[in-house]
Symmetry: C2
Subunit: 417 residues, 2 copies
């Protein structure tokens, strides 16, 4: 067993560091643990082709195939042999290989595993009893593995968890409602899931902690990077008594794309999602869109119609059939019954905050700097995209005047980064 | 042609006073005008048996039948001959006769007609081109006639009117929203219908007047009685440039029952009903229930969940599928499209403010005084009910401890009247 040319003993050591085996977890072969850990750094969150490949071949065979530069045709044949059908399979795998290969680096994998061991971050695999079964509803877009710090009990609470999300720019009203909601839900035996952001997220976590409840924070970067930095102490506290979770390896930076993908985990993890306060184009409408697309109960808290900070909540109630929830009791009812399902919503429609950019454009913008010009292969590696896709996105962004080519590569312009 | 033993010339004179004929209205025979005017004082608003009788026999034949003390059997035969079926017809007519006969008084009819002529109140009949066709959706419970003061143009505006209703105990927030809504709707060419009460109603009328829009006030008593008295100047102003409307004759006092029945007219008259601010048990939920039962678009304005004054609006959105409306534009959309219909609502469920009392108990309580004991026949006449029904209601109310029998009759106790 070798991967990246590493000896078996090295792989076992690294895997044990982040996935310490009791009897239960010994069944996960160290090579599989190591390979899934590597995949969390190679594929961007929500990469359905990576999910397909890992699901059909197993993580280590899939990784070997990428490492050994199999042709897309050979890879497609092997995937088809495992029973998967798909007309576009060759072309999807070819694009996948172009996304993943620029990121293949044993040094980075080893570094992130060592960093994980250093901060006591652990790796959770889908085969683990702790794995949140609710995430499997994401299908091919489910995480390949989760990194986490905290108390394992937090995962057991997820089937009775409510996701409380909302605007970073919350008002006093919104923060008050978030606090009352979190405390009231904890009193009723629910855990609180959120994203550790400023505003509503932070207040929901804090109130859950103050009520001695269980709370989980899903981060858009590595669990060793406490973002936002102003919530360093809060996230540390959640990692002590609850859980801090990410599908990205240690060291990974949060990007706009990763925030949007992280939102799907928040929506999928809990039994219901409640948007406490959100402006007309708040990013939390994206979380709401994921919840609706998954058929999860979705609630929104109304507020004064004179407050722009509640306009997104009213929009969810008006346009997306979100249930109007005004008390913790009504939120508990929403989560407890879970009979509500929404078919007609299109996740696209609720994907506020992404403006009119395509996914690839967002990811390329994330990978650019305003100061340091970056060559296309570097951008491709950072964005987890093929060079062809990067060039296409750069062309569109160039027309919009938000990127510019310098002698040594591309920079972003006109953004407030 | 005689009614109440009055000469034809007297009847023609009285009818012309309140229903001045142009060519259009000359087709209404004076006896029919007079009889419908009399019926507005004999039957309580919403009396479906009176509606059936007047609809099938015509107002003057129906009145003659009551005056000449036809037996219920004879009346039922005549009604059946006009094509109406109904198993309970005899018993319903018998109870109707018992309700109406205590109120037959030529002196009262003449007095209310003279008072109407004095204050320039006019009578509007269903055959009149001005008659609001929307009220016909009330079926047998439609008004037999309407009394009104104001500008005939106001009635032409009703197909493009929005009813803005809400709590008397409105907050500054609710009044602000009512003002913005009324002004914005007027700007979009809508008329404003409301009930002239304190709080939301008054603010909606005032803002419509300030925007030089058309506004109509539906009253629970006679159009000569400006209730509440604190809105005397406002109602006078509405009667100058808009219209003040009631289905009760001049001199009639507003009662709780009449407020509830008046609400059905507000809900039926406009193209949509919007509840601006309402507590959990606000009487405006009753108006909303009527709108829903009629299939009229129903909107509710959300507010802070921390404000009890908005709890009724949130309840309408949560439980009765009211559309969440936050701007005048959204209210206009609600009224303009009118595609929304609600079947599952039960008017009963939304009939807040009636507590657990039956209709008859409410009407008997309305007819009682806290100070002056009233004998049962007097109560029956005031309530427009049969003595048997009054005795039944008094029995139930007595058990609840809210009425008490004195030597000379019954009084109400423990109410804040």
């Amino acid at each position: 067993m070798t991967l990246f040319g590493l000896e078996e003993s090295v792989i076992v050591g690294l895997a044990r560091g982040v996935h310490p085996g009791g009897d239960e977890s010994e069944r996960d072969a160290p090579a599989d643990v190591f390979a899934r850990a590597a995949w969390t750094g190679i594929a961007e969150p929500g990469d359905g082709v990576a999910g397909l490949l890992v699901g059909s071949l197993g993580a280590s065979v899939a990784l070997t195939a990428v490492l050994e530069t199999w042709t897309p045709e050979r890879l497609a044949v092997t995937v088809r042999e495992s029973g998967v059908a798909g007309e576009e399979l060759e072309s999807e795998l070819e694009q996948g290989l172009q996304r993943w290969r620029p990121r293949l680096s044993s040094a980075e994998v080893i570094h992130s595993l060592q960093q994980a061991a250093r901060v006591s971050a652990r790796l959770l695999l889908p085969s683990d009893p702790l794995w949140p079964a609710s995430l499997d509803d994401l299908g091919l877009h489910a995480p390949i593995a989760l990194w986490w710090r905290g108390d394992p009990a937090a995962f057991h609470a997820l089937p009775h968890a409510v996701a409380l999300v909302g605007a970073r720019a919350a008002t006093g009203y919104g923060e008050h409602v978030a606090m009352e909601a979190a405390a009231g839900l904890v009193d009723r035996g629910f855990a609180i899931v959120s994203g550790a952001a400023y505003g509503i997220d932070g207040m929901a976590h804090r109130a859950a902690l103050a009520s001695e409840g269980i709370t989980l924070a899903f981060l858009a970067g590595g669990v060793d990077r406490h973002y936002p930095t102003g919530h360093d102490a809060l996230i540390s506290r959640i990692a002590e008594v609850g859980a801090v979770v990410s599908e990205l390896p240690c060291g990974a930076a949060p990007t706009k794309w990763r925030f949007l993908q992280r939102n799907r985990l928040i929506a999928a993890a809990g039994a219901a999602t409640v948007v406490v306060e959100a402006g007309w184009r708040s990013g939390s409408l994206n979380t709401a869109g994921h919840a609706a697309a998954l058929g999860r109960p979705l609630g929104a808290v109304p507020g004064p119609v004179t407050s722009p900070a509640s306009a997104g909540c009213h929009r969810l109630i008006r346009e997306f059939d979100a249930v109007c929830v005004t008390t913790a009791a009504e939120m508990a009812e929403l989560a407890g019954e879970g009979v509500w399902a929404l078919d007609r919503i299109e996740a696209e429609g609720a994907a506020g905050g992404t403006d009119s950019r395509t996914s690839e454009e967002i990811r390329v913008l994330d990978a650019l700097s305003r100061r340091s010009p970056r060559p296309v292969p570097d951008i491709a590696r950072r964005a987890g995209m093929s060079t062809a896709a990067v060039l296409g996105a750069l062309g569109a962004l160039d027309l919009d005047g938000v990127v510019s080519e310098r002698e040594t590569g591309w920079v972003s312009i006109g953004r407030g980064t």
